[in-house]
Amino acid sequence: MITYLEAIREAQRQALENDPRVYIYGQDVGAFGGAFKATKSLAQSFPGRVLDSPISEDAMVGSAIGAALQGMRPIVEMQFADFSTVGFNQIVNQAATMFWRTGLPCPITVRLPSGGTPGSGPFHSQNLEALYAHYPGLILMTPATVEDAYAMLLEAVAIDDPVIFCEHKYLYYHLKADTLPKEALPAGKARVARAGRDATVVTYSAMVHESLAAADELATEGWEIEVIDLRTIKPLDTDTVLASVARTGRILAVGEAWPWGGVTAEILARVAAEGFNLLDAPPMRLNSKDTPVPYHPNLWGTHRPTARSIADSLRVLLRS
C-alpha cells in the first residue's frame, strides 16, 4: 500500500532521478525530509539537489523563477499553503507574467500543502486555489487520489508553465492505493469518479471523497449521483462538466474553499452561461463557511462541507 503522501514523495524521487534539471527547495526539506516528510530521504539520495531554504517564501519562489529561466525545473515546497501568500508576489507577478512578457517559459512547480485537518486552525488550513487560478499564466492542480498525486506531480514538473500543485493534507495519510499508476489522464481533463443519472456533483481534492460518501448515502435512498473530479482547476474541463449536466440536469458544485467567488462560482457561471437549457433545477453550490478556518474539531467539522452536508444539499437539489 502506498499513501497519497508517499506518492508525492515518489513522484519527486522519480523527477529527480529522470531529470537532472530538477531540484527541490523549501523549508526543512533537506536532511529532515520536510514538515510532512514529503521529501524524506531524498536529500540523502540526491546530494545537493534537495536544499533547505531560509524562511523566505518570496525569495524561494523568486530564485526558483531565476533558476527556471536558466533551464532548471525547480520544485518549491511551501511548508503550508497558507504561507505561500508571502511568496504571492513572485508567483502571480513574476512567474505568471514571464511567458507573456518575454516569450520564455517559466517551468516551476510550487507545492502547496492545502486544506484543513482538525486542530490546524486559521493559518494551517487554507485552500488558495481560487486565488492563484485568478491569475493568467498559472496552472492549478488539485489531485484527489493517490494515483493523481503521483502522476500529476510528475506532469507538473514537465509542464513548461508555473504549476501550483495543491496537495491536500487531509489525504496525506488517509488515502491509500495498491500501486502507483503507469499512466493517467492529462492535465485539463476531469474524471468521472462515479457515474450517476439524477444529479452531478462537481468537485476536486478532498471534497471528492466527501462527495463520494454522500453519493453512497443517497444511493441507499434510491438516487444515483454522478461525481466529477476536476483534477485541474485551471484549465477547467468545462466540457466534461457540461456533458454530465446534460445527463443529469442537476448540478451541485462543492469546494472546501471559501464561498465568495472561487472555483464553485466559476463552475456555476460556466454552466449557467453555456448549459442553461440543460438544467432542470437551479444550480447549487456548497463551500466552507465565510469565516477563517476554525481550530477546534467541532467547529472545523461544521465549517467545511462534509458528506452529510453535501448529502443534505443534494436532497434539496433533487427535490427542486
Partner: protein, 352 residues
C-alpha cells in the same frame, strides 16, 4: 543583442594607469548616450508621444554605467528604472529602449510591457517587474542554476534604490544570497528620496552600509557622483564576487536630479541636498575630471554629444516607423503550454 547602435566593445574597468583613461572615456560616452536618449524620450513625453510613464536616470549614470561595464558575457544584470547607462554598457541596444518606450510590436516586449520594464533574459538582462526588490531573488536563482550547471565565474548584479531596502523582498533575497554565498552584487543607490519620501521616513539606521554586517555580506560605500570612485568600487565588488567572496552590497550616494518620473516636478527635493557633494551632477564631475587630467577636451565633448544625438535621432526615427501591436493579430495566450489553454485557443499569428 542588436549590434545596431552599439559603440565599440567596452573594455572592463581597470585601475592600471594606462587603461583607466580609456575606460573612463568609454564610461562617460555611455553615460552621455543614456542622458541624451532619456532627454529625447522626455521631450517626446512632453509632446504627448509616449503612452505611460517616463523615468529618468539623471544623476545616476555614473554608478549605473560602472555596474554595466563591470559585467561580461554570461553575467546577469537586473537593472531598475534609473539604469539606462548601465543597460547600454551591459549591451542592451538603444533600439530596445526606443522601441519599448514607443510601444512598437518589434521591440523586445512587443507592446505587452513598456518603458523601463524591458529586457532580454536569454542574454542575461532581466526585465524588471514593478514590484521593488522582486528581481534580486531571481538573480539569485540564476546564480544557483549556474552552480548546478557548473557554469563558473559568472556573477549577477541587481540595482535598487534606497526605498527598496525597506521591502521584505530586499531582506529575503540578500539573506538568501548570503546563505547560499552567491556571487551577487547588490547596488543600492541612495538618491535621498523614494518618490517624495525622504530617508528619515524610509529607514532609521545611520547608514545603509551598516546593513551589510547584519546580512554577513561585504559592504562598499561609494560617492555616486564620482565616476572614478564608482568604476573602482563596483569593479572591486564584482571582482570579489567573481573570486568567490560571496555577495557584495554597494551603497552609492547621490541625489535624484529629476522627478520620480517625468510627471513629477520634484518640488519636495530640499535645496540643502543640492549644495552638498552628493548633489553634484556626475556628468559634470566626470567632464571636469577628464579636462583636469587632459583625458579629453571640449571639442571631444562636443563631438561625443553630436554622436550621441545622431544615434538617438536615428533610433527614435526608426522606432516611430515601426508598427504598433495589433489587437486582432495579438496572440492572447499567457501559457507556454498552449494545449493547456482553456476553450479554443486562438491560433498564433506571430512567432517570437
Amino acid at each position: 543583442m542588436h549590434d545596431m547602435f552599439r559603440l565599440a566593445e567596452a573594455p572592463r574597468p581597470s585601475c592600471t594607469a594606462v587603461e583607466f583613461p580609456e575606460t573612463y572615456r568609454r564610461a562617460y560616452r555611455w553615460m552621455l548616450l543614456a542622458r541624451v536618449a532619456e532627454e529625447k524620450i522626455a521631450s517626446l513625453y512632453r509632446g504627448g508621444k509616449i503612452t505611460g510613464g517616463v523615468f529618468l536616470g539623471k544623476g545616476q549614470e555614473a554608478i549605473s554605467v560602472a555596474t554595466g561595464m563591470a559585467l561580461r558575457d554570461g553575467d546577469i544584470f537586473a537593472p531598475l528604472i534609473r539604469d539606462q547607462a548601465g543597460r547600454l554598457a551591459f549591451g542592451e541596444s538603444l533600439l530596445d529602449f526606443t522601441l519599448t518606450y514607443l510601444g512598437a510590436r518589434s521591440g523586445p516586449m512587443r507592446g505587452r510591457d513598456g518603458n523601463v520594464h524591458r529586457g532580454r533574459p536569454k542574454e542575461g538582462l532581466l526585465p524588471m517587474i514593478s514590484h521593488l526588490g522582486a528581481m534580486v531573488s531571481v538573480v539569485n536563482g540564476i546564480l544557483m542554476a549556474h552552480r548546478f550547471q557548473k557554469k563558473e565565474n559568472t556573477v549577477g548584479a541587481a540595482c535598487l534604490g534606497e526605498g527598496a531596502t525597506s521591502t521584505g523582498a530586499f531582506h529575503e533575497s540578500l539573506n538568501q544570497a548570503a546563505v547560499e554565498k552567491l556571487p551577487l552584487i547588490l547596488v543600492v543607490t541612495n538618491n535621498q528620496y523614494a518618490y517624495s519620501t525622504p530617508n528619515h521616513r524610509q529607514f532609521a539606521c545611520n547608514d545603509l552600509i551598516d546593513k551589510a554586517i547584519g546580512y554577513g555580506v561585504k559592504g562598499h560605500s561609494v560617492d555616486g557622483t564620482d565616476l572614478s570612485a564608482c568604476l573602482e568600487t563596483i569593479g572591486g565588488a564584482v571582482a570579489a564576487a567573481r573570486d568567490g567572496e560571496g555577495p557584495q552590497l554597494v551603497i552609492a550616494s547621490n541625489l535624484r536630479l529629476a522627478g520620480h518620473g517625468e510627471h513629477d516636478d520634484a518640488h519636495y527635493i530640499s535645496q540643502h541636498f543640492k549644495e552638498l557633494q552628493l548633489g553634484r551632477d556626475c556628468m559634470e564631475v566626470a567632464q571636469n575630471h577628464m579636462l583636469a587630467q587632459k583625458w579629453a577636451d571640449s571639442s571631444m565633448f562636443d563631438l561625443w554629444h553630436r554622436d550621441s544625438q545622431s544615434l538617438v535621432e536615428e533610433a527614435v526615427a526608426h522606432s516611430l516607423r515601426e508598427p504598433a501591436p495589433d489587437p486582432a493579430k495579438e496572440d492572447w495566450c499567457a501559457l507556454a503550454s498552449r494545449h493547456l489553454l482553456e476553450g479554443n485557443p486562438p491560433q498564433p499569428t506571430h512567432n517570437h
